[in-house]
Symmetry: C2
Subunit: 474 residues, 2 copies
C-alpha cells in the first residue's frame, strides 16, 4: 500500500492497509459465524454532514466510528460495503452537483477515491439500486451510557474493534505521544490567575498545530481546586471558566484524536508546581493504585478485579492518611471505595474514547456502587487498549451520604476528612496496550511527585512552543 | 442588572439586560401584530446536548440561536417562554438526577438560574403541564441555504433579530476586535512550509485563550494558492491540509464567537508578505470595490444594488488589468461579474453567521447569476449588521464555462487570463454596522497593500503571543 493518510510535517503516516486488515478481520469473524448466508454483504452508512440546528452553519465533520474503522474514509455522506466472501470493499459516494466545484472545490472522479483509499470499487450512491439491501440484518442497539441508538452493538464481527492490530497500535501510540506532549506543554504554562479554559485552548492548539488533530476525543476537562472533583467537568454547564488559584490542585483530562483514533489522558498536579503534604498524600495514594493495577494487568485477569484492586489500595492509603479507620475487608464489603472513586477504573479505547464491546452480548454490568460504572466487563486480552484511571475525590454529596450511612460512617474520621473537603480530587489516567504478559504504557508524562515538581520547577510561562517549529518539543 | 456573563480577564461583560431588551422588542413586535390572542405566550425550545453518532461522546454544546437571543441561557436541554402582554420570562430547566452531582457538578436550585439570568420565573420542565401549549402557533420554516427546518422563519416578532440594539452592537464589536487581532496574529506567523491547518489552530487558540471564544462562528477557511479560489474550503473533503508555498496568496476566512455572537472576517495576503504585481492588481481591484461599497451603504439603499456596484467595480478593474475588454454595461447585462464573484456581496450577521431574516416573508432571491447567492434581499436599515465581502476568484470551471459562452467569451482576453489561472482568489471581508448615515466598520485589520506589507515585514514567527499574558496584543 503506497496509499497513506498524512497531514505533513511530523504527523503520522497511516497506511490504507490498516483498514484492509480491519476488513479482513471483519470478514473472517463473520465467516466463522454460524448461519451466515453465502454472498453476504456488510453495508455501513458513513457519517452525514450536519448543520447547527436550523442554520446553514456546518458542524466540523467527524466520521462515524464503525465506518472509519472499516474504510478510513474522511468524506461525509458516503456508504460502504464489504463482500464477506472475498473481502472486496465498495465505497458509495455522493454524485456532487456542478456547483460543488465553485463552493467546495474540485469534483474528483470515482477513480480518485479508489486510489485515495485503496478500495476495490467506487460507485455513486445514485447509481445503486438500494432495494437489494432490504434483507440486511438490523444491527442497531443501544449505547449503555448515553442511551443513544447505535448501529452495531450486537454485531459480533465488528467487535473485532476490541483487539487492535499492530497498525492500529501505531496510531494509538502516536495520539498518546502528541497528547502527552500537549499535557506537558500545559504543565509548563499553568499558573495562578489564569482561566481553566486557557489551558484547554493551549492543549487543543498543541494537538492540532503540532499533531494534526483537528478534534479532541472528548470535551476537555480542566478542573482546578474544587472543580477537580467534578468527574465530567468542562461541559456547557461548567465550561472550564474558573480562575485557577495558587493553592489549587489541577485535574486536566484531555486527549486529542488523529484520523479518528483517540487518546484519553489525565494529569493531576498543583497549579503552583509544589505539592502540599495533604495534596501529596492523596496524589501518592492514587499513584500507588495506578502502579499496582499496571503491574497486575495481563491477559486473563478480570477487569472488575482490577477495579477492586484499585479500591483496595485507595482504602489502605486513606487509612494511612487518617481519613479512614477500621478493617479493610469490612470497608470493601460496604463498597467504601466507591465513595472516593465513584467511576470505573477504566475503559476500552480506540476510535471512540469509550470504545465499543466492553460487555459481551448477554452480560450486564455488576450492580454494585463503583462497579456499575465500569464500562468494561471482560477478561483482559492481549491487544486490548484500555485506560487505567484510578482517582480519589472529595465529593460533598457522596461524603455526606456516607456519613449518613450506618454501614459506612463508622469507618470515617470526620475531623481529618474535614481538612480535605473542598480540595477537589486526583485522577491519574494512562492509556495502555495489553501485551502477551503485561502492558505497554502508551502515555508518557511526569507521574511521580518528584517528577512533576522537577518538571514544573523550570516553567517558563512566557515561552510558548513556537507554532512554526514543530520539532521543538518539551 | 448586576447580572453579567463574563469569562474573566479582558473578556467582555455582557449584561442580562441585553436579553431583557430583546424580549421587550419581541413582545412589542407581537403586540403590534393583528389578530394576536390575549394572554399569548411565546414558547421556545433550547438546544439539546447531543452525542457523536451512537456513542456517549458529547459534542461541545452550542445554544440554539433563537433561544439564546431571547434568554441568554448557556445550559442545554431547557425551554423558555415569554408572556407577550407582560414581557415576563419563564425558564424551564431539567430536574437533574442525584448522579449529576457526582459526574457533572453541583446541582443548583431554581433560584440560582433566576438570578444568573435575571428572569422572572424558573420551573422544572417536569413540573409543567405541557398540554396547555398545544395551541401554540407552528413557526417552523425552511432555511433557504441548507434546507434545514427552522423553528421561526416566518415569525415576524423574532425578525427583530434583524436590527441590533446598542448592547448587541457592543458584543459584535468585541467579537470583531478579538477576531481581528487573531487574524493579525496569523499574519504575523504565516510562512511557506507551514500547513494551512496550523493557521486555523493558531486563530482558534488566540480567540479562545485571549477572547474566551470556545467556538468559531463557522469552519475556518484557510486556503493558500489555488485553494484560495475554493469559496468554502476547509470542510471535511478539503480540511486545510495543504502546505503553504512561497508564492501563494492566502485567503483566510475565520471568525470567533463570544456568548453566541458571531464575527466573519476574511484577510487575503501573500504568504511571504510581499505582493507580486499580478497579486497586487487583483487585490487592489477587490479593495476598490470593498471601499466603494462601504462608502455607498446607508439606510435606504438596496443591498442588491450594493452587490451590483461591487460587480461593476470588479469589471472596471479587470478591464484595466487586461483580463477583460469591451463595454462595461454590456458585461453587466451578461452577468460577467458572477464569473469572478459567484457568491453574494454579504449577509446579515448576528447570533448566526448567516443571520436570519435576509428576505422579507413572501419575497424571493433574484434569479440571476451571483445575485441568486445573495443571502440578503432587503433595503438596508440602521442597526443592521452585515458583512461586506467582495472577491475575485479564478475558478477554472467557471472560466471555462464563460469561454464557452457565446455571450461572455468575447469579453475575455484569454492570453492575459491564462497568467492568472491557478493563482486562486482574493476576498476582503469586513463586518459593518449600519448607522444613521453610513456605516461603522467593526473589523480592524491591515487592508491596503502598503499596510499589509508593512505589517508583515516585521514578522517574527518565533515569537508567539504568550498564552499567559492577555494584555500583550499586536
Amino acid at each position: 500500500y503506497s496509499t497513506v493518510y498524512w497531514l505533513g510535517k511530523d504527523t503520522l503516516r497511516v497506511s490504507a492497509a490498516l483498514f484492509a486488515e480491519n476488513r479482513r478481520r471483519l470478514c473472517e469473524g463473520l465467516r466463522a459465524k454460524q448461519g451466515l448466508q453465502p454472498k453476504s454483504l456488510v453495508l455501513l452508512q458513513g457519517g452525514e454532514q450536519k448543520q447547527r440546528y436550523c442554520t446553514d452553519t456546518d458542524v466540523v465533520f467527524r466520521q462515524e466510528s464503525f465506518f472509519h474503522w472499516t474504510f478510513g474514509v474522511t468524506e461525509a455522506d458516503c456508504y460502504g460495503a464489504v463482500d464477506v466472501d472475498t473481502c472486496k470493499a465498495f465505497l458509495f459516494i455522493p454524485k456532487l452537483p456542478e456547483s460543488y466545484a465553485t463552493w467546495m472545490g474540485e469534483i474528483y472522479p470515482k477513480e480518485h477515491f479508489k486510489e485515495k483509499y485503496a478500495l476495490e470499487e467506487v460507485h455513486y450512491t445514485c447509481d445503486v439500486s438500494w432495494t437489494d439491501t432490504k434483507n440486511a440484518t438490523n444491527f442497531r442497539g443501544v449505547n449503555t451510557d448515553s442511551g443513544s441508538v447505535t448501529r452495531e452493538a450486537s454485531f459480533e464481527g465488528i467487535s473485532r474493534r476490541l483487539l487492535k492490530t499492530d497498525m492500529e497500535l501505531e496510531v494509538l501510540r502516536y495520539t498518546n505521544r502528541i497528547s502527552s506532549e500537549a499535557h506537558k506543554e500545559v504543565m509548563k504554562h499553568v499558573s495562578a490567575g489564569q482561566k481553566e479554559y486557557e489551558m484547554e485552548s493551549l492543549f487543543r492548539h498543541y494537538c492540532y498545530s503540532q499533531g494534526g488533530m483537528r478534534h479532541t476525543s472528548y470535551t476537555c476537562i480542566c478542573g482546578s481546586g474544587h472543580n477537580s472533583s467534578v468527574l465530567h467537568y468542562g461541559h456547557a454547564g461548567a465550561p472550564n471558566d474558573k480562575t485557577i488559584q495558587d493553592g489549587d490542585m489541577c485535574l486536566f483530562d484531555m486527549g486529542g484524536e488523529y484520523y479518528c483514533y483517540s487518546s484519553d489522558i489525565t494529569c493531576s498536579f498543583p497549579a503552583n508546581g509544589k505539592f502540599t503534604p495533604d495534596q501529596k498524600a492523596i496524589y501518592e495514594a492514587v499513584l500507588k493504585s495506578s502502579r499496582a493495577v499496571l503491574a497486575a494487568i495481563k491477559p486473563g485477569v478480570k477487569w472488575s478485579d482490577m477495579h477492586r484492586l484499585a479500591d483496595r489500595v485507595h482504602l489502605e492509603e486513606l487509612i494511612k492518611v487518617g481519613i479512614l479507620r477500621g478493617n479493610l475487608d469490612d470497608m470493601m464489603k460496604v463498597h467504601l471505595g466507591s465513595v472516593f472513586m465513584p467511576h470505573g477504573l477504566g475503559h476500552l479505547l480506540g476510535i471512540d474514547v469509550h470504545d465499543v464491546g466492553g460487555y459481551p452480548e448477554g452480560t450486564e454490568r455488576i450492580d454494585e456502587p463503583g462497579l456499575k460504572s465500569l464500562r468494561m466487563g471482560r477478561v483482559v486480552q492481549e491487544r486490548m487498549v484500555l485506560t487505567v484511571e484510578p482517582g480519589i475525590y472529595f465529593i460533598n454529596h457522596l461524603l455526606d451520604k456516607a456519613l449518613a450511612s450506618e454501614q459506612q460512617s463508622g469507618f470515617i474520621n470526620n475531623e481529618v476528612l474535614a481538612r480535605f473537603r473542598g480540595s477537589g480530587g486526583v485522577r491519574i489516567e494512562d492509556d495502555i496496550a495489553v501485551t502477551a504478559d503485561g502492558v505497554e504504557l502508551l502515555t508518557c508524562v511526569p507521574r511521580t511527585v518528584e517528577e512533576i515538581e522537577a518538571f514544573m520547577a523550570d516553567r517558563n510561562p512566557e515561552k510558548s512552543f513556537s507554532p512554526t517549529v514543530s520539532s521543538e518539543k518539551f
